[in-house]
Symmetry: C2
Subunit: 180 residues, 2 copies
């Protein structure tokens, strides 16, 4: 949640914006960086305006539903810098949900384990390709930085998985019938 409001405040540090605009930006450019959903963004912007971190003003264009444009206040700026510092100094490596499966890898016959992991590998390679493509289209140094970061981890994941699968094959070749 801290990251969510840091993110929103960060956007508003650059320029005022309305909810739809922000959500659109996320969906088009930052799906890799944040998974915040539309409803969350709207609610958070509302919440931040109630607590004085941002102000709202409505802009009407023609007969369309009015846009609620949010602007950051000085209190919001302070909060932004505080959250930013916190975020930068924190080192929270995520938990890898895929490791749960690896924990019980030996419950599956080697062939099947291997087959499933190869699917995982293919997905990973896919994601890498997507990112390699995406990294081209970004001028923003911040976005480029985080995409490169993600690519590094993805590449590590690909290499590591490849090794794991190889080991699985080797083990299986040695004792093809001995796994329970």
């Amino acid at each position: 949640m801290d990251e969510r409001s840091l993110f929103l405040l960060g956007i508003l540090m650059v320029q005022s914006a309305h909810g739809y605009q922000i959500n659109d930006f996320i969906e088009k450019n930052l799906i890799q960086v944040t998974d915040m959903k539309k409803a969350t963004a709207y609610a958070l912007l509302e919440r931040m305006s109630r607590s004085g971190l941002v102000t709202v003003h409505s802009e009407q264009e023609g007969n369309r539903p009015p846009r609620k444009v949010y602007s950051i206040t000085s209190a919001g700026q302070e909060q932004f810098y505080s959250l930013l510092r916190q975020n930068l100094m924190r080192a929270d490596l995520p938990i890898y949900r895929g490791d749960i499966g690896l924990l019980f890898l030996d419950h599956l016959p080697g062939q099947e384990a291997s087959a499933n992991l190869q699917l995982r590998l293919a997905h990973l390679r896919n994601q890498l390709d997507v990112l390699r493509n995406a990294v081209q289209h970004h001028r923003s140094p911040g976005i480029a930085l985080s995409i490169e970061h993600r690519m590094l981890h993805l590449q590590l994941e690909v290499d590591w998985l490849t090794r794991v699968i190889e080991q699985l094959r080797d083990t299986d070749a040695q004792t093809p019938d001995e796994r329970s």
Copy 2:
């Protein structure tokens, strides 16, 4: 949530166990692999017993509060294999919350950004040391696998952050007064 029940079922595949025991095992050996909390484990075991994936029987010892020992059923085993396959073939790279900060790195003077990131780096090195120590004490190949996995990502993180900080210094040395 899928990972949570996969994890619990996996534990019960090896041997029947009660909630306290499982939670204890997590806290002592698997804090890196899962962040499931006590209340969640208890509730999930309850829930799985209601849906027939596990059975319960109470064991009383002396006058102590009775232990509810859960055992996996054949329906539970099927569910386990199904969840395991799903988990193995899925490639869900997590979202790195720390990247949100990097997105806005240029809002802080280079020195401060650098100082904060060095704190992050120190934490990461700490975690690496802890894991290097932990990896010794595990016979279970599954646990060892996931700890090694984590160590690789940690090491990558350390190397990468080091480079980022260096670049920050270089940029700052070139244009010491020109950042807004």
